[in-house]
Amino acid sequence: MRAFRALQSGGRLVFVAAALLSGQAFGQSTFAGVWNAGYFEDWPDRFPGPELGDYAGLPLNASDRARASSWNATILSLPDYQCRVHPSDYANSFADIRMWHEIDTKTQQLVAIHLQHFAWSTQRTFWMDSRPHPPEFAEHTSMGFSTGEWVGNNLKVTTTHLKEGWLRRNGVARSDAATVTEHFVRHGNHLTWNVFVQDAKYLEEPFFRNRDYTLAETGAIGAYPCESVVEVLLPEEGYFPHYLPGENPFLIEYARNHKIPSEAAMGGAATMYPEYKKKLAALPQP
């Protein structure tokens, strides 16, 4: 009997040790569930969409500013562009998301965390199994290739292989060379999503934004089908809507309507910082 108890005790120790060493750390947050988006921040950039010519607070460089200035909203009516999805570093700006964990049933290891956006039904995978990112010549997609790691209870996600996307829905481009770092931070039933976009091609400095969500215990997100149709008769070949340099009549609207100096409306890294207020006061208003 004494030998049996000793074995029992030893078995418990082995069990506890095995549990501790299994790799799937205990006490890490679960992000599983439907998360309702809060719409109390950056409202113009959420449902209504940003105003044309509003680049204030974006660290875009001169090339990106020129790109955005030629942007023509008519592209949204082109069949090939009607169902274009939001890139993963932007899609969370909209609506609700669902997240779920994928566990290997045999090893009980966390293989991946998945995230689905309501908007356009796009789905992301954060690989948690330490797999490498693909070679640079592999396909780039709107969602990119993401790997995740735990930083304490928070989830850190690194994404590469993104297709060209946008920082704002008014033509401010983000290049396909960008690396995006996200932090998903859970506070009880609240989730904060922080995203850092590093893009040496189109940004003077990394761009940061965050969004907040609330867990919806019985939440659901709907399907989001999209069908392209011909809405406007346009030239079939060799046509892309854009404004020639200096000919975009809408660029000045935002600055004029909000009485913001044109230079400030055109953005740049300096416009992100509080110190810019001093310069702002000295700039002429439109």
Binding site: F137, E139, E164, D176, Y239
Partner: protein
């Protein structure tokens, strides 16, 4: 100085100079061939020259383009890591040496499916792989002389004219579609219908502005038309992702969104430059106006074979005097 040397070299060599100048800047000893499985039976081989597309199944191997000759051993080694099947077909997307330089070497390690009416059509059937291309590829390669002369073993053995040539190989239909007067006058895009993959050659790339080989019969209008043809064929899964995949002449594996972004750049820059040309601006004035400023971080270069300046010069020339056979 380097830029001026290259410009002079190209002017002297004409279209074949594109191959020579491109090759002159490569370090083949350090180069390696890396492969990426694109679909079940289609691979992309990436090295120092243009991308190679490899289709393989039970029947054997079909290659689209062959990179530079000094890389052939490494290319064969990369192929043999994937399959030990014979190389039956080589398809050339155009005549430049970074896409055809390995023709003779890779053909020599292959074999042609012979018999029927093929035995008379291909003189050395059974000896090497068949090389298929638009007839202008054969004309360009066989007419090169002097140091740029291409040995006959590297010439196409099966040519076509008109809109396209069709093959059925490894259980799928393959369309070799001629896109006229684009990068050159002999461009083809190769569409693997079952695999849903297009090998685009140099009418599409992700690493530079379009290379317009005007001495080789290329034109700006042809590039636009070729991109429209690509967009017509591609069907995405959703939005602009997935579905038909495109292996570019240079750069990374792509899908509809990438081709649309590239087409956008090509059309926007064309419209700007055409407006400047119509307004009577000189080439130097056009350059000073920076018509590519917004796309330079993505496609531009101040060094290497195809600089932004060279693109603007070629675009200016092509848009000022579009060739009669341009689409």
């Amino acid at each position: 100085m380097k830029k001026h040397f290259l410009a002079a070299l190209l002017a002297a060599l004409g279209s074949v100079g594109f191959s020579v100048a491109s090759q002159a800047q490569q370090d083949f000893a350090a180069g390696e061939i890396r492969s990426l499985q694109v679909r079940d039976n289609v691979y992309m081989l990436v090295g120092a020259g243009g991308n190679i597309t490899m289709q393989v199944k039970d029947e054997g191997i079909l290659l689209v383009d062959t990179q530079f000759a000094p890389l052939s051993e490494k290319i064969v080694a990369a192929i043999r890591k994937i399959s030990d099947k014979p190389i039956h077909y080589i398809v050339n997307t155009h005549h430049h040496g970074d896409h055809t330089g390995g023709n003779a070497n890779l053909r020599a390690v292959g074999t042609t499916v012979s018999g029927g009416n093929m035995a008379g059509a291909i003189r050395d059937s059974g000896v090497g792989a068949a090389i298929v291309a638009h007839e202008n590829v054969l004309l360009r390669l066989s007419s090169a002389t002097g140091p740029q002369a291409v040995p006959s073993g590297g010439w196409p053995t099966s040519t076509f004219f008109g809109k396209k040539k069709e093959l059925y190989y490894n259980d799928e239909g393959i369309e070799i579609i001629h896109v006229p007067a684009a990068h050159t006058d002999g461009d083809s895009i190769v569409f693997f219908r079952q695999s849903d993959v297009i090998s685009a050659g140099d009418v599409f790339g992700t690493t530079s502005y379009p290379v317009i080989d005007i001495p080789g019969g290329g034109s700006y209008a042809g590039i636009v038309s070729a991109l429209e043809r690509l967009v017509d064929i591609i069907i995405p899964v959703y939005g602009q992702d997935g579905g038909t995949l495109v292996i570019p002449g240079h750069g990374r594996l792509s899908n509809l969104g990438d081709v649309l972004n590239y087409r956008e750049m090509v059309i926007v820059v064309r419209d700007r430059m055409q407006g400047m040309i119509d307004a009577g601006m000189t080439l130097e004035q056009v350059k000073a106006a920076k018509p590519t400023q917004d796309y330079d971080p993505v496609y531009g270069s101040t060094t290497g074979f195809w600089t932004t300046d060279r693109f603007i010069e070629a675009a200016y020339r092509s848009l000022s005097n579009p060739p009669e056979d341009a689409p």
